[in-house]
C-alpha cells in the first residue's frame, strides 16, 4: 500500500521542486484580508474540480466501470443553476438552483447506473451516451448562450474564501466523507469485491447492482458539484466548454494514483495525489514557460513517465540496471 503510493508522491515532489527552482517564490504563502494566497493555494483551487470528479471516478473504476459523462454532467449542473438564478441576486434562489442542479445530476447518475447495472451495457458505451447528449442538454438549458449571473451567494462556491478558497474546502470535505463512508461501512470492501469478481460477489449475496448504481450516482453528484465550482468561479455557464475533457484528467488522476482500470483495489489517497500531479503539471507548464504549442506534448511525457515508474515491468527493468551497475 505504502509502496504503491511512493512513486506518485515522488513525482509530485519532483514537480514541486522543479517549480521551486524556476520560481523561487513558488512555496511562499501570504495572508491578505484573512485570505491565504500563493501558488500552492492556486494549484489546490484549480485542481479542486478535477479532484472531486476523480473521487467519483475512483469508485466507478473500482467496480470495473468508467464514467465518460462527468464533464457533460458538470456543464449541465452549471447551466441549470445559472438559468435558475437568472438576474436574481438572492441567496435563496442560488441555493435552490444548486439543489435542483444536484438532484438532476443524481438522476443522470441513475440513468448511467440503469444502463450499466440494469441493462448490462458496457460502461464506456453507456456513459458515452450521456457524454455526447449531455452537452446538448446543457445547450438546450442555456439556449445556446453563455449565461452570466451576478449572485454573491453563488460566487462563494467557486470563488469564495474561508481563509482558504471554498472550493478546496468542499473537495477536501468530500474526500474525507468518502474515505469515512468507505472505511467505516462495508461499502469499500463490497465495491472491491464486485470489482474483482462480480460473479463470485453475486453468488455470495452481494447486491452488485445496487453497489454499481450507487457509485454512478455518486460520480454524477461529484461531477455536479465540480460543475457548480467551475461555473461559480466565472459567474457564468458555458455549455460548450465547462468541464471539457475533465473526464480524461479525472481518469488519468485515478490511474496515476495506482487504481487499476481493470477494477478491484482502489486508493483514494492515490487519487488525491494523482489529481494534484495533474494540476501541478498544468501550473508548471505556465511557470517554466513551455511554449504553448508543445504544452500537451510536455504533459504527455510527464504522464508517461509517471505511469512507467509504476509499471512492474518498467520497474523491474530499472532495478535490473541498478543491480548491474552496482555489481
Amino acid at each position: 500500500m505504502k509502496n504503491r503510493l511512493l512513486w506518485p508522491l515522488l513525482a509530485l515532489v519532483a514537480l514541486l521542486l522543479l517549480n521551486l527552482v524556476v520560481t523561487p517564490s513558488f512555496f511562499s504563502l501570504r495572508m491578505q484580508d484573512g485570505h491565504l494566497y500563493g501558488s500552492l493555494v492556486d494549484v489546490l483551487k484549480n485542481g479542486a474540480p478535477t479532484l472531486l470528479i476523480a473521487l467519483g471516478m475512483t469508485l466507478v473504476i473500482a467496480t470495473r466501470g468508467i464514467d465518460l459523462s462527468v464533464g457533460a454532467v458538470a456543464a449541465i449542473a452549471g447551466a441549470v443553476t445559472c438559468v435558475h438564478i437568472g438576474t436574481s441576486g438572492d441567496a435563496g434562489t442560488a441555493i435552490a438552483g444548486m439543489a435542483i442542479a444536484l438532484v438532476l445530476c443524481a438522476v443522470l447518475g441513475l440513468w448511467n447506473g440503469f444502463l450499466v447495472a440494469g441493462l448490462g451495457i458496457q460502461p464506456i458505451i453507456a456513459t458515452l451516451v450521456l457524454m455526447t447528449a449531455g452537452r446538448g442538454v446543457a445547450m438546450l438549458v442555456t439556449e445556446g448562450q453563455i449565461v452570466t449571473v451576478n449572485n454573491t451567494a453563488y460566487k462563494q462556491v467557486g470563488a469564495g474564501f474561508v481563509v482558504l478558497p471554498t472550493s478546496i474546502l468542499i473537495s477536501l470535505l468530500v474526500l474525507a466523507l468518502v474515505a469515512f463512508v468507505t472505511r467505516k461501512t462495508a461499502l469499500g470492501m463490497l465495491i472491491e469485491a464486485v470489482g474483482v469478481n462480480p460473479e463470485a460477489s453475486r453468488l455470495a449475496g452481494v447486491r452488485a447492482r445496487t453497489i454499481i448504481w450507487t457509485v454512478y450516482v455518486f460520480a454524477a453528484v461529484c461531477a455536479g458539484i465540480a460543475g457548480l465550482m467551475i461555473s461559480s468561479n466565472v459567474s457564468a455557464a458555458d455549455a460548450n466548454n465547462a468541464g471539457l475533457w475533465i473526464e480524461m484528467d479525472a481518469i488519468l488522476a485515478v490511474v496515476i494514483g495506482g487504481t487499476s482500470l481493470a477494477g478491484g483495489r482502489y486508493s483514494l489517497t492515490g487519487t488525491l495525489l494523482g489529481a494534484l500531479i495533474i494540476q501541478t503539471l498544468t501550473t508548471t507548464v505556465y511557470t517554466i514557460g513551455v511554449a504553448p504549442e508543445v504544452t500537451l506534448v510536455f504533459k504527455a511525457v510527464v504522464v508517461i513517465a509517471v505511469c512507467l515508474v509504476q509499471a512492474p515491468k518498467a520497474r523491474a527493468a530499472l532495478s535490473f540496471r541498478k543491480v548491474a551497475v552496482s555489481s
Binding site: A186, M189, V196, A200, A204
Partner: protein, 510 residues
C-alpha cells in the same frame, strides 16, 4: 525397467525461496525419455513450483537444471518451450474465440508472403491432431468444443513443436472417466514415441494406472523417487502426508452411525430449467448428507444452482420448512439459510484480490448490507475461529486469497458459508484438486456439520467419496434424476452401473 537411457531432464539440488517461504529445498528430480512420471505431494508441497522452475517461470536460487546433457538456465517459459519442454496447465489457457488450428499454432503460424498461410496452418493442425487421434475440424472455433476436447487441443498445441518433455499439470481434474481414458491413450502414444511426460494428479487411481515412476515431495523437500510398481498406496499416502489413513476411515464409521430423521428442510417438486436440468423432485432433511452422483455434464451443478437461485427455475416449486419460497436470486436463498460453494473456486467463489478476512465475511456482510458493517472485533473473532477450526494456512487474515494453495482456498470458501450458519449447505466439488489431507478435513467437517443438524448436498466426481459420506445418493444422467439410493447400503459399483445407464433398470429406492 532398466535405466539404460540417460535422463532427459535432471534437476540437482534445486532450492527456491519466496518472501517468507522456502518453496523448494535441495530437490533432486530426474525424468527419463519414454516414461510417464508422476509428481506427487499435497498442496503446497512444491509440485507447481518445481514444474515452474523446470519450465522457466521461476529461476531457482540454487541448484542446476540439466536438459539432454547440457546445463540450462531458462529465463522465460518461451525459452523452455523452445528447448522442447511443453506444458499444459490445469485450466485451459487457450483462446476460445480463435479456431482450433489458430490455437494449436498460435505464435508459430506458417507464413506466406508476409501473411498467415491459413490452408497450411489447418493442414498442419490436422496432422498434429491426427497424431493424438483427435478428429475435429481445425477450422472450427475452439469455444464450440467441450472442455475435455479443449484440453486435448491444448495437448496438441504442446506437441505441435518438437517436444521432448511434456508437462501435464492436473490435466484430468475436469474430465470424466471416458475422457480420462482418451487422455491416457494419447499419453501412452506419446510415451511410446519417446516423449518424457511429467504428470500431476490428485487422483491416485489415475496415477497408478498411467505412471511408470513417481517422485514424492513434502513441504518443499524431496521424500523419495520410486518405480510406481514398487510402492503401494498406503506407503505413498503416508509419504505424502506424513501420517496414516486413520482419519479417512473414521469418517466412514461416523457416516454409518448416523440415521437422520430430522424434519424435511427443503422440498423441491418438479423443479427444473430447460436446457439445464429436467424437472426433479428432491427432499433434504435437516442433518442429512445427500450426495449427487453423475458424470460431468449430467446436471449436478445445474441442479444445485437451481436450489440456490443462482439460475432461475422455469418450472416446479421449492418448499423450505413446508412454505413455498420463490428464489429471485442467491440473496433470497441465503436469507432462507441456503449456502452454495461453487465448484469454480476462482471464477465464482473467491474474490482473489481480497484478503482472507474479507473473503470470510463477504457473505455475512452482503446479507447485512453495506450500511451495517460487522464490528471489527466480531470480524476478528470469526476469522480467528475459522482459521483455527479449518486449519487454514497461512493463518494470516491479511494474506490475499490468491496467494493460497487450492486446498486452503477451498477452506476459505467453506468458511465464508459456515460463518453464515446455513441450514442447507450445498458443496459442489469441494474436494476437487486438493490434497488428501485437506480432503479428509473437509469430509470430516461435512459429517460434523450433519451431526449438528445442518443439511448438506454433496457433489463430487469421485464416487467413492460420495458413497462414503452420503446418507442418500441421488443419481443423475443426461440432465435427469434417475435414481435415489440409500447411502449406507449402496456400493460404488451400483452407482456406476446406474450412471453407465441402459443395462440397469431404473430403480428408485428411498
Amino acid at each position: 525397467m532398466t535405466e539404460s537411457p540417460p535422463p532427459v531432464v535432471e534437476m540437482r539440488g534445486i532450492s527456491l525461496a519466496f518472501p517468507g517461504v522456502k518453496a523448494l529445498q535441495d530437490v533432486d528430480f530426474r525424468l527419463f525419455p519414454g516414461e510417464v512420471h508422476a509428481l506427487m505431494g499435497e498442496n503446497g508441497a512444491g509440485k507447481s513450483t518445481l514444474i515452474k522452475t523446470l519450465t522457466g517461470v521461476h529461476r531457482p536460487d540454487g541448484g542446476q537444471v540439466v536438459l539432454g546433457g547440457d546445463e540450462v538456465a531458462f529465463t522465460s517459459p518461451g525459452e523452455a518451450q523452445h528447448a522442447g519442454i511443453s506444458t499444459v496447465y490445469q485450466e485451459v489457457n487457450l483462446c476460445a474465440n480463435l479456431t482450433v488450428a489458430e490455437n494449436i499454432l498460435l505464435g508459430r503460424e506458417p507464413r506466406r508472403f508476409g501473411g498467415i498461410d491459413f490452408p497450411a496452418m489447418r493442414k498442419r493442425a490436422k496432422e498434429v491432431l491426427a497424431r493424438i487421434g483427435v478428429h475435429i475440424d481445425p477450422a472450427s472455433s475452439l469455444g464450440e468444443h467441450p472442455i475435455a476436447v479443449q484440453q486435448l487441443v491444448a495437448i496438441a498445441r504442446a506437441i505441435a513443436i518438437d517436444c521432448r518433455v511434456l508437462v501435464l499439470d492436473e490435466p484430468t481434474s475436469s474430465l470424466d472417466a471416458g475422457e480420462v481414458a482418451e487422455l491416457f491413450r494419447i499419453m501412452r502414444v506419446l510415451r511410446d514415441e519417446g516423449v518424457a511426460i511429467l504428470f500431476v494428479s490428485h487422483f491416485l487411481d489415475q496415477v497408478y494406472e498411467i505412471s511408470d515412476r513417481m517422485t514424492v515431495l513434502r513441504n518443499g523437500a524431496l521424500v523419495g523417487e520410486h518405480l510406481t510398481a514398487d510402492v503401494d498406496r498406503r506407503t505413498l499416502i503416508a509419504q505424502m502426508i506424513g501420517r496414516d489413513l486413520g482419519a479417512l476411515e473414521a469418517i466412514e464409521d461416523a457416516a454409518e452411525k448416523r440415521h437422520p430423521d430430522g424434519p424435511v428442510l427443503v422440498h423441491a417438486s418438479g423443479l427444473g430449467r430447460r436446457g439445464a436440468i429436467d424437472p426433479f423432485d428432491l427432499e433434504i432433511r435437516a442433518g442429512e448428507v445427500v450426495g449427487l452422483a453423475g458424470l460431468l455434464g449430467s446436471g449436478r451443478t445445474e441442479l444445485a444452482r437451481l436450489l440456490f437461485g443462482a439460475d432461475r427455475a422455469d418450472s416446479g416449486r421449492l418448499l423450505v420448512d413446508g412454505a413455498p419460497l420463490r428464489l429471485r436470486g442467491p440473496r433470497s436463498a441465503i436469507a432462507a439459510g441456503i449456502a452454495f460453494s461453487s465448484e469454480d473456486r476462482k471464477g465464482e467463489g473467491l474474490v482473489a484480490d481480497l484478503s482472507i478476512r474479507d473473503n470470510l465475511v463477504l457473505a455475512m456482510q452482503a446479507a447485512r448490507g453495506w450500511t451495517r458493517p460487522l464490528p471489527r472485533r466480531t470480524k476478528d473473532q470469526l476469522v480467528e475461529k475459522y482459521l483455527k477450526a479449518l486449519d487454514i494456512r497461512p493463518a494470516n487474515p491479511d494474506a490475499l486469497v490468491r496467494t493460497l494453495s487450492g486446498g486452503n482456498q477451498q477452506k476459505v470458501l467453506l468458511a465464508r458459508w459456515l460463518v453464515t450458519e446455513p441450514r442447507l449447505l450445498i458443496l459442489d466439488e469441494p474436494t476437487r484438486g486438493i490434497d488428501i489431507g485437506a480432503k479428509a478435513q473437509i469430509q470430516q467437517l461435512v459429517t460434523t456439520l450433519a451431526a449438528e443438524g445442518t443439511a448438506v448436498l454433496f457433489i463430487s466426481a469421485e464416487l467413492e467419496e460420495v458413497v462414503r459420506i452420503s446418507d442418500r445418493i441421488v443419481v443423475l444422467r443426461d440432465r435427469r434424476k434417475i435414481a435415489e439410493l440409500d447411502g449406507s447400503t449402496t456400493g460404488v459399483d451400483e452407482v456406476v452401473e446406474l450412471i453407465a445407464g441402459g443395462a440397469a433398470p431404473e430403480k428408485v429406492v428411498s
